[in-house]
């Protein structure tokens, strides 16, 4: 692919959703529902088709890292040695894979939204925001300059903010949107500072003209172009404090976007948005942008083992934490939100140990089954009249057969048995056995996450769909209409089959995504990546992982479906009494941040308001007390008499004339 083709195709992928957003937002309310539905979905469909064209081009090209970079326009040029940024896009295997998920899963969710938002008066606004999100996400993954990446990064946060607060009359939605946005800004600032550090420190030995002896001293490059950064990443030092700091800042950006500890508290609240939003943004795409970021900056992370190790630990820690919290949440969407957090933790763990392709594999399959779970949950919520508490559900499997079967497929895929999650999770845990900090310590934790996942996935399935209905709404629930079922069925098909297809013929070891993506991570300038386990350790790991998943599932089925196992007595023991409460209250993170950060800041603001300005004002009070005559004149000014304000004119003129005369006199 040459640069102009790349620019054209990437431009189209960006343009279609942007145009769709503008059409829906500006003239959608006038032209009505039918237009909005068409414009909102066709724009994404068109972007998906263009993405397929790009995919075919990349696939058809020779092997190796197929990276094409093109400049769309100059953003800012402040002269040599200063900030120079152009709007560059890059197309390679990594960005294509991301684009396929963004536009493909995005298209399914947009179609689903036509049904879900049918009775909402704000549908035009909804599709406008959703289209804008697709645009932002595409910009983020296509960007080939760090400033442009940050612009995409922030645009994603903006669309997330708009969609979380979509029902803006609800106070809780407004606060959730604000919380999400401000957390994202923490990430933005971290990225900006990382960019500044790179800009200041990146250097290269200038090319030597032939037949000349060169001093060979490295010179600062002063660039933020991603290909340049990756090519010269080693100039930042291998394992140096500088590159460690840069990578930690990048990771903070990634943690904010991917809802990892300690910047995770916004994601559960983000469930205030409409359910398709949760599926698209807070499960399939946006929250995985952090994984993408680390994978994209792999050249830097390869050189910073301490930062990578931290990333891996945070990822695995979040996976455990979120899995633990998911065990006792009662809101159907929040359970899935915590499971998302947990699964992304695994992805972050994977990219932290250098198993980038494994992380992206998990991203791809997770996008299918998590979008499936959310959309199916959306059908449930619709059917039980906007009830989200799973204690009010139950017995829905006979009332919503298709949704229930699809949800079961999704739960199995999530828990890692038979379907999608089995392949990707065991793959990345296999890498964890022999790579990364403290391996196999984190691997053993990862095995524990498998048990947790099986537990909370089938607790959710069992409580929602099995047993007897526990409310009137659940008793009267009925299946959703076709437009909301087909996307769910397609996603169920993808969740069930994608792993088998990509992994054919064996369920462990190298897969097609590995083959597709590894050229990116082994391209010149990259460091060493994680080694895959040998055959028999791999098989052993696969069996262990699968067994743990099955243990989790089996325990869950006994507790929440067959009811022949009651954990309440075990949990009432003194040592364990605290656990359910910690889990239910999300480990008190919200309360902690509120006490440590929000309240003190507010109090400081109030205190300054009371003290700051009055103190700084005090000298002026002194002046005005002395000049009481002054103030009396000012009072009379308000009467509007000409002579009063004339006197002020005179005052100024006199002061000025004296000055000039003084100057003139002294000059002679």
């Amino acid at each position: 692919m040459n640069a102009s083709t790349a620019a054209l195709l990437a431009g189209l992928v960006l343009l279609f959703p942007l145009a769709g957003s503008a059409l829906c937002g500006l003239i959608g309310p006038v032209l009505g529902r039918r237009f909005v539905n068409l414009a909102g979905t066709l724009s994404i469909g068109a972007a998906f088709v263009v993405t397929l064209v790009i995919f075919v081009q990349v696939l058809g090209a020779a092997s190796g890292h197929q990276s094409t970079t093109a400049t769309l326009w100059n953003w800012l040029n402040l002269g040599p040695g200063n900030l120079n940024v152009s709007v560059d896009i890059t197309i390679d295997q990594l960005s294509v894979l991301m684009l396929l998920v963004i536009t493909g899963v995005g298209l399914l969710i947009h179609v689903y939204s036509v049904g879900y938002m049918e009775h909402d008066p704000g549908a035009a606004r909804f599709f406008s925001y959703m289209n804008f999100f697709i645009f932002s996400m595409a910009l983020l993954v296509l960007a080939a300059n760090m400033v442009i990446l940050i612009i995409g990064w922030a645009a994603v946060a903006l669309s997330s903010y708009l969609l979380i607060g979509f029902w803006y009359e609800r106070e809780s939605a407004v606060l959730a949107a604000r919380k999400a946005f401000i957390t994202q800004v923490i990430g933005d600032v971290a990225l900006v500072i990382a960019a500044i550090l790179i800009f200041v420190n990146l250097s290269a030995v200038p090319a030597c003209p032939p037949n000349e002896k060169c001093a060979g001293l490295p010179q600062a490059l002063h660039t933020l172009s991603l290909p340049q950064i990756f090519a010269h990443a080693s100039s930042l030092g291998v394992g140096s404090p500088l590159i460690t700091l840069i990578c930690i800042l990048l990771a903070v950006g990634a943690f904010a976007k991917s809802a990892q500890f300690p910047l995770h508290t916004w994601l559960p609240d983000a469930m205030e948005g409409p359910t398709p939003v949760s599926a698209l943004i807070h499960a399939a795409t946006m929250v995985t942008a952090g994984v993408y970021l680390i994978a994209r900056f792999h050249s830097l992370f390869d050189l910073a083992p301490i930062a990578s190790g931290m990333v891996a630990c945070v990822g695995m820690g979040t996976a455990v934490m979120a899995g633990f919290i998911a065990l006792s949440q009662v809101d159907i969407k929040r359970v899935i939100a915590y499971s998302t957090m947990s699964q992304i933790g695994l992805m972050i763990f994977a990219v932290g140990i250098g198993a980038y392709a494994a992380g992206m594999y998990q991203f791809l399959l997770h996008a299918f089954f998590k979008a499936l779970l959310f959309l199916a949950a959306g059908n449930v919520i619709h059917a039980v009249h906007d009830e989200q508490d799973i204690r009010e559900m139950g017995g829905l499997d006979s009332r919503m057969r298709v949704t229930a079967w699809c949800f079961l497929v999704g739960s199995l895929a999530l828990a890692g048995f038979l379907f999608a999650g089995m392949f990707s999770k065991e793959d990345l845990l296999g890498f964890g056995m022999i790579n990364g900090p403290g391996s196999p310590a984190l691997y053993i934790v990862g095995i524990g996450v498998n048990v947790l996942t099986g537990l909370y996935a089938f607790r959710l399935y069992g409580t929602t769909f099995r047993g007897e209905p526990r409310s009137e709404a659940a008793r009267n629930a009925h299946e959703s209409k076709a437009v909301m079922l087909w996307p769910v069925v397609i996603l169920a098909g993808l969740s069930a089959l994608a792993g088998w297809i990509l992994q054919w013929p064996v369920a462990f070891g190298p897969h097609l995504i590995d083959a597709f993506l590894n050229p990116v991570f082994t391209s010149p300038g990259s460091g060493p990546i994680a080694k895959a386990p040998q055959l028999w350790p791999g098989v052993l790991g696969f069996v262990i992982g699968l067994t743990c998943s099955l243990i989790g599932i089996a325990i869950a089925l006994r507790i929440w479906v067959r009811h022949d196992l009651d954990p309440s007595r075990a949990l009432a023991r003194p040592g364990l009494r605290l656990l359910p409460r910690l889990s239910f209250n999300k480990l008190y993170f919200d309360e902690l941040y509120d006490t440590l950060l929000v309240r003190p800041t507010r109090a400081l603001g109030r205190g300054l308001r009371r003290v700051g300005d009055p103190v700084m004002d005090s000298w002026i009070k002194g002046v005005s007390d002395v000049a009481t005559d002054f103030s009396s004149v000012f009072r009379s000014v308000q009467t509007g008499l000409i002579r009063d304000y004339a006197s002020y004119m005179v005052l100024f003129v006199v002061i000025f004339t004296i000055g000039v005369m003084l100057a003139a006199g002294l000059a002679r």
């Binding site: 200063n82 933005d188 603001g605 002026i620």
Partner: protein, 533 residues
Amino acid sequence: MNGFPWLTAILLLPAAGALILQVIPGKAADLIKGVTVMVAAAEVVLVAIVVHGVATTSAIGGGPLPMHYVEQASWIPAIGASYHLGVDGVSAWILALNAGVFLLGALVVPRRSTERLKLFCGLMLLAEAATTGVLISLDLLLFYVFWEGMLIPLYFLLAFYGNENRGRATLKFVIYTVAGSLLMLLAILYLHFQALAGGHNTFDLEVLLQNPLPVQTGVALPFTTIPTLSPAMFAFLAFALAFAIKLPMVPFHTWLPDLYESAPAPVLVFFAGVVSKMGAYGFIRFGITLFSGPVHQLQPLLVALAILSILYGAMMALSQTDLKRIVAYASISHLGFIALGIFSLDQNGIDGAVIQILNHGIIIAGLFLVVGVVEARTGTRDIRELGGLQKRMPWLYVFFLVITLGALGLPGTNGFVGEVTIMLGAFQYFWLLAVLAGLGVLLASWYMLRMHQGMMHGPVRAVTEKVQDLRFREGLVLAPLAVLIVLLGVFPHPVGTVAAQAVPGYVTLADASQHPVVVPTVAHVSALTEVEP
């Protein structure tokens, strides 16, 4: 350029407009407003031609600061004062901002208050003429005349047309600005006499720059440097005080919230959009160029005040309940960014400051216009009483959203361009500054969203129950601002390029190492003190 005195034309046009208004009968309100708007529009066209000229032609003059459209004539030969005008990459976009924001201000002059409308419009036009003069004067005395001249019409506008609290607010404003201005005049005289001692009877900036003040570096101690108190230092402090008050920098800011609270909408838009930028402009053109030695010695203090402005303004904005006061403190915080960029004395930082001057002018004008519209509709500026406006005013919501995002510096809006460039410049001076500025960015998203969501979201309240959406004319005023916020965010290239043309000259001048240096060492000082008794 063709020899046509473009700068004199843009200087005189508003003043001529003010004169024309005097022959119109006071009752013809539509005509008065029409003429004002026409003059403002014509000014925009003229300034656009000038900016285009600056962007496309190369500067003339071999001096340290090459200028465009230079006009020079003798003014007061006895003291060497001259009528010396010029424009460069630093002032070009500020001129454009001046003309553009004034046009918006003229458009929102309420026609209903026919009472003294003629005086109002006349004073507005005079204020515009004066700010234009400030931006194009290359003679210090001429600059001072316009600097003072700018205050007089503004003072009357505030004293006559402000709301019920105007007395206190105007008093504060006058005390502050008179204090600053008088000291600055003394400093200008000092510079004049220094030049005179060197054989130049002049107030001309270019001549003064070619004969720099003797520089004393501070007394070097371990870990720190004590600034020396030279006459040059006092002169700089005098200039700095005048500019710091106008900018304003904490702790010289307390006049601003009171003033913004009481000013009428058109004056407020012009004041916040343009007049506050004059302090920043003054620092760039006169502060860091004429006084490179003192600036370098005081640089730690100056950047500390800039950071203080950013954080203090942000914390105050977070705790206010009055919309105008929130915006006023937000403005102080944003202007702190501009000051930070300037005092980084780095090319990226100063480029960023120039870019941010333009961008902040656009954003703050938009914010005050929105506040004005909301206050006119609901009768309140108390954020606790507002809510649910998005439902009633969807078009206002769209514009306000864009303006809010610009104000919190979202990447992709114009607010980000200046901020990131400034942070880059500040980082190169001292890394911690960029981190603290980042904290300011974080707080900005907090207080802006608190304000935006407080007004727009939540259930519809009693005061917002019956409000109407924007009228077409109001939309016409807000739309260009919203468009510019996005446009200059995705394509800041024209602004950056014009600024980057001129800024290297300023950076060179600010670099004290270019000048002869007298270095008193610790031994030196102790020797002096030993001799003393």
